[in-house]
C-alpha cells in the first residue's frame, strides 16, 4: 500500500517566491499527495484544529514545506504546531494518533549550502538547526526523515530552480512509494516480502 503524503506549505508571500512556486508546481499533480497551503487557508491565523487533525490522520507522511526564516519556519507553522499537536492527540499518555507516521522538512534557504557548516556564517548544519522539528516528531512517536533543502535561492537562475523542483518531485514520488510503517510491520510479522509498487 503506497503512502499518502501531506505537504503543509507555508509561505507568507508565495507570490514573490520563485523557488517555492516551482516546488509547488513540481508536486501538485502527484498521485497520493495532498498539498495544503496554510497561509491561503488561514490568512487570519484561525487554524481549524479539528480539520487539521483529521488531515493528519488521513496521511502517512507529513512534509513541512517553507522558507527557512531565522533558522525556523514562518509564524503560521509555529501556530500550527502549537494548536494542532494537542496534548491527548499528538502526545501524552493517550496522545498516540500520529504514532508510526513520518515527518520531514522541505526548506528553501537564501544562503548557500556551505554557509550551514561549522566554519560557515550560520555555524550549524541544517540537520542541527532542524532539531526542534526532529524532537517534535519524536515526541509524537513519528519517524524523522532526512530533510530536503534548496539552497542559495537569492541568486538562482531558472535552470537551477527547475532542477531543484525536479529533485523535489523525485523525492516526494519516492515518499508516496514508501510503505507506511504499519503496513511494513504487519508484513514483517506475516513474513511477507513486500513488492515494490512498480512490480505489484
Amino acid at each position: 500500500m503506497p503512502s499518502k503524503v501531506l505537504i503543509l506549505l507555508a509561505h507568507p508571500a508565495l507570490q514573490r517566491s520563485r523557488v517555492n512556486r516551482a516546488l509547488v508546481r513540481a508536486v501538485t499533480e502527484l498521485q497520493g499527495v495532498t498539498l495544503h497551503d496554510l497561509y491561503e487557508t488561514y490568512p487570519d491565523f484561525m487554524i481549524d484544529v479539528e480539520h487539521e487533525q483529521s488531515l493528519l490522520l488521513d496521511h502517512d507522511i507529513i512534509v513541512f514545506q517553507h522558507p527557512f526564516y531565522w533558522y525556523s519556519a514562518p509564524a503560521l507553522v509555529k501556530e500550527w504546531l502549537d494548536l494542532v499537536l494537542e496534548h491527548g492527540f499528538a502526545y501524552g499518555r493517550e496522545g498516540t494518533a500520529l504514532r508510526g507516521k513520518a515527518m520531514m522538512s522541505a526548506i528553501s534557504t537564501g544562503g548557500g549550502e556551505d554557509a550551514y557548516h561549522e566554519a560557515g556564517m550560520n555555524r550549524y548544519s541544517i540537520t542541527e538547526l532542524l532539531r526542534p522539528f526532529e524532537q517534535t516528531a519524536r515526541l509524537c512517536g513519528m519517524e524523522w526523515l532526512p530533510h530536503f533543502a534548496v539552497h542559495g535561492t537569492h541568486s538562482m537562475d531558472i535552470g537551477s530552480i527547475q532542477s531543484g523542483a525536479d529533485d523535489y518531485r523525485i523525492l516526494v514520488t519516492a515518499l508516496t512509494d514508501r510503505m507506511s510503517r504499519d503496513a511494513q510491520r504487519a508484513m514483517n510479522e506475516a513474513q511477507i516480502i513486500p513488492l515494490r509498487p512498480a512490480e505489484a
Binding site: Q15, R21, V24, R25, M46, D48, L83, H87, G92
Partner: protein
C-alpha cells in the same frame, strides 16, 4: 411593391433576419452572410417579397454612420494618434496601390483611361460594414490585424471626401442631374454659396464645434436629462447626437460617418460613453442588418444569368487584385504570414461606398451604364465572398499557420485584470480604493452622477448607468473582467445584477454586499461567490473593542471576534430543504429570528476559551503530569 404597407415591409425584413441569421451563426457562417442570404431569399430573384432596394439601402446606410460613432467611442484620442502611421501609411498605400493595379488592368483591356481610373478608385474601397462586423464577431478588433483593417477603412472614409470632388473631373460626357445619395457633396445646398476661401473655415468650424460641444456641453446636458429619470430620454439623446452630427456634416459637405466617428472619439473619455454605447448599439445592429439584407436583395441575378462569365471574372479579378495588394502591403508592414493572409482576405471585398460612388459617377457621366451595372452586381457579390473566404481561412489556413500561444505556467499566481464595481457609494468606494491602491484596474458603474463626479481623477474608469442592464455591463467590459463587486444599495437591484452577470458573464467572480443574513442567503442561492453583510464587519469591530473595554486582553478579544465571525458566517447558510418553501414575509421574518437565535444559542453553548485556543492552556497536560507524580497537589 409601393402598396405594401410599411409594417408589412418591416415584418418581412425582421422575419428574414430572425430566421436566417441564427441559422447562419449555427452553421458557422457568421451574421453577415446570414443577412446577405436572407436578402437574396426575399429579393426580386428569391421570393420577391421586397422590391427596389435603393431607398431601403440609403436608410440602412445610416447604420454605418452609427457604427463609426460606436467605433469612435471605443477609441481614445491618444490611441487614434498612435494609429496615425497605419492610417496614413497603410491606408494611402492600399488605396493608391489597388487603384493603380485595377486601373492599369482596365487600360490594358482597352477601356478609356478615365473610365478605368474611376472604376479603379471605386473598386478600391472596402466595406466598413462587413469588415468591422465580421472582425468584431471574431473578436479580432483589438488585434494588429483588426487595427490595421480599421486604419485602412478609416483612411478610405476620409478619402471619399476629396474623391467626390475629383470624380466629376473624369467625366467623358455631360453630367445629368444632381448627385444623390450618401453624404458628402450630395446635399451640399447652401455650402455652394460660400466663397471658396471661406469653405475651409466652415469645415474647421464644424469640426471644432463638435469637439467643443463634446468636451464642454455634453456633461451638463446629460445631467439635465438624467434629472428626468426616463430611460428613453437617454436613447433619444444618443440618437439626437448621431443624427445631429450627420446633419451638420452633410450641411458642410463632409461625410456623416466621419463626423460621428470624430464625435465618438471626443466622447470616448467621457463617463457617459457607456450609456451612449448601449443606447445606440441596438439601432446600429438593426440598421446594419437591414443594410446587408438590402445588399443581398439588390444582387441582380438577371444580369448574372445574362453574362455569368463576365460577372464572375469581374468579382474574382477584383477580389484577387485587392487581396493581392493587401497581402503585399502586409509583408511590407511586417505582419506575420497568417496575419497578412487574414488582413488581405478581410478587406478584399468592395464596399458600400462603391454603390454611392457608382451612382454618383453615373450621374456625372463618369461611367456609362453598361459598365456601371455589371460593376454594381460585382460589388454586391464581392461582399458575399468575404464571409466565405474568412470561413476558409479559419478552417484551412489558420490551423496550419498560427502557432498556438505557449501556455502559461498553470499554477502561477496571476494577479491582474480588471475589477468592475457596480455602485460607487460609501460601500463601493472603500473596496474600489483598496483595489486601486494595489495597482488593479477598476471600472466603476453608478447611476448617480454625484457619486462618480471627480473620482476619475484618481484613476478609476467611471461610467454612468444602471448596472443591472446587460448591455451596459457588457460595454463596461464585463465579458473580459475578472470580478464584479455588487455594491449598490437596493437588494432587488443586487439580485438583478447577480442574475444578469451569472447568466451572461459566467467567467466573472461575483462579490456582493447584502443587507442582512436573510438577504445574504438569497444572494448565496444565486451562486454569488462571496457575500458579506454590509454592517457585519464594522459591528464586529465595535464588539471586539467593547470586549477590550470590558477587560479582555487585546489578543483574547481579537480571537473572540474572529471565532464569532467564523460561526456566524457559517450560520448564514440555511439547509437546502428549506429553500423551496412558499415565500412570504412571515416565513422570512421567522427564519430571520430563528437564525439569529441559533447563532446566540451556539455562542452561549460554547465556553469562551473552547475550540481553537485549547492547546495554549493545556489543562489536560497539567492533570496528566500531576497524576503521574504521587503527592503532587491537585
Amino acid at each position: 411593391m409601393a402598396q405594401v404597407s410599411f409594417l408589412l415591409m418591416a415584418f418581412v425584413y425582421l422575419a428574414v433576419a430572425v430566421i436566417s441569421v441564427p441559422i447562419a451563426k449555427r452553421l458557422g457562417l457568421g451574421s453577415v452572410l446570414g443577412y446577405l442570404i436572407g436578402g437574396v431569399l426575399i429579393g426580386p430573384f428569391g421570393a420577391s417579397l421586397v422590391g427596389d432596394q435603393t431607398d431601403v439601402m440609403h436608410f440602412a446606410e445610416f447604420g454605418v454612420v452609427m457604427m463609426l460613432f460606436l467605433v469612435g467611442l471605443e477609441l481614445r484620442p491618444q490611441f487614434l494618434w498612435q494609429l496615425r502611421k497605419p492610417i496614413l501609411g497603410l491606408g494611402s498605400a492600399q488605396l493608391i496601390g489597388t487603384t493603380a493595379v485595377l486601373a492599369g488592368t482596365g487600360i490594358a483591356l482597352g477601356f478609356d483611361w478615365r473610365i478605368a481610373l474611376a472604376a479603379g478608385i471605386i473598386l478600391a474601397m472596402s466595406s466598413t460594414a462587413i469588415v468591422l462586423q465580421t472582425l468584431a464577431e471574431k473578436n479580432l478588433m483589438k488585434t494588429p490585424v483588426g487595427q490595421a483593417s480599421f486604419s485602412v477603412l478609416l483612411f478610405q472614409d476620409i478619402a471619399v471626401i476629396p474623391l467626390l470632388a475629383f470624380l466629376p473631373l473624369l467625366a467623358f460626357g455631360v453630367p445629368h442631374g444632381d448627385a444623390g445619395g450618401h453624404g458628402a457633396a450630395a446635399h451640399a445646398g447652401w455650402i455652394d454659396a460660400v466663397p471658396g476661401w471661406a469653405y475651409p473655415l466652415v469645415v474647421i468650424g464644424a469640426v471644432a464645434s463638435i469637439i467643443l460641444a463634446g468636451r464642454l456641453a455634453l456633461r451638463p446636458v446629460f445631467r439635465y436629462i438624467a434629472s428626468a429619470r426616463l430611460r428613453e430620454m437617454f436613447t433619444a439623446f444618443g440618437l439626437l447626437i448621431v443624427v445631429g452630427i450627420a446633419v451638420l456634416m452633410q450641411a458642410v459637405g463632409l461625410s456623416p460617418a466621419l463626423g460621428t466617428f470624430l464625435a465618438g472619439v471626443v466622447l470616448a473619455e467621457s463617463e457617459f460613453r457607456h450609456e451612449l454605447e448601449s443606447d445606440i448599439e441596438p439601432f446600429k445592429g438593426l440598421l446594419m442588418g437591414l443594410f446587408f439584407i438590402s445588399v443581398g436583395a439588390g444582387i441582380d441575378f438577371a444580369l448574372l444569368a445574362h453574362s455569368p462569365g463576365l460577372i464572375a471574372a469581374l468579382v474574382f479579378g477584383v477580389v484577387a487584385v485587392k487581396a493581392g495588394v493587401l497581402f503585399i502591403l502586409s509583408r511590407v508592414f511586417r505582419f506575420s504570414l497568417s496575419e497578412g493572409i487574414l488582413f488581405a482576405l478581410a478587406l478584399s471585398q468592395v464596399g458600400e461606398f462603391a454603390f454611392v460612388l457608382i451612382a454618383f459617377a453615373l450621374q456625372n457621366a463618369v461611367l456609362p451604364a453598361d459598365i456601371a451595372n455589371p460593376l454594381v452586381a460585382a460589388v454586391a457579390l464581392s461582399m458575399l465572398t468575404t464571409p466565405l473566404l474568412l470561413i476558409a481561412y479559419d478552417k484551412r489556413i489558420a490551423p496550419r499557420l498560427v502557432t498556438p500561444e505557449p501556455e502559461r505556467e498553470p499554477d502561477d499566481i496571476q494577479a491582474d485584470g480588471t475589477a468592475i464595481i457596480a455602485g460607487f457609494g460609501r460601500f463601493g468606494q472603500v473596496a474600489g480604493r483598496l483595489l486601486l491602491a494595489n495597482g488593479f484596474r477598476v471600472t466603476v458603474l453608478d447611476h448617480d452622477a454625484d457619486h462618480v463626479e471627480g473620482v476619475r481623477a484618481y484613476g478609476f474608469k467611471v461610467y454612468f448607468g444602471d448596472a443591472s442592464r446587460v448591455d451596459l455591463l457588457k460595454a463596461a467590459g464585463a465579458a473580459e473582467a475578472k470580478i464584479l463587486i455588487i455594491a449598490v444599495d437596493e437588494h432587488e437591484k443586487m439580485m438583478e445584477i447577480a442574475e444578469a452577470a451569472k447568466k451572461h458573464f459566467p467567467q466573472l467572480k461575483l462579490l456582493s454586499r447584502a443587507y442582512d443574513r436573510v438577504k445574504a442567503f438569497e444572494l448565496m442561492k444565486l451562486d454569488v461567490d462571496v457575500v458579506k453583510r454590509e454592517t457585519f464587519g464594522s459591528a464586529l469591530e465595535i464588539g471586539v473593542e467593547a470586549l477590550k473595554a470590558m477587560g479582555f486582553r487585546a489578543y483574547q478579544a481579537e480571537r473572540a471576534g474572529r471565532l464569532f465571525r467564523k460561526h456566524d458566517e457559517a450560520a448564514v447558510v440555511i439547509p437546502e430543504e428549506y429553500w423551496d418553501d412558499e415565500e412570504g414575509y412571515l416565513r422570512v421574518f421567522r427564519q430571520k429570528t430563528e437564525a439569529l437565535e441559533r447563532v446566540l444559542q451556539a455562542d452561549l453553548a460554547r465556553p469562551p476559551d473552547e475550540g481553537a485556543d485549547a492547546a495554549w492552556d493545556t489543562q489536560t497536560l497539567v492533570a496528566e503530569v500531576r497524576a503521574a507524580k504521587p503527592g503532587a497537589r491537585r
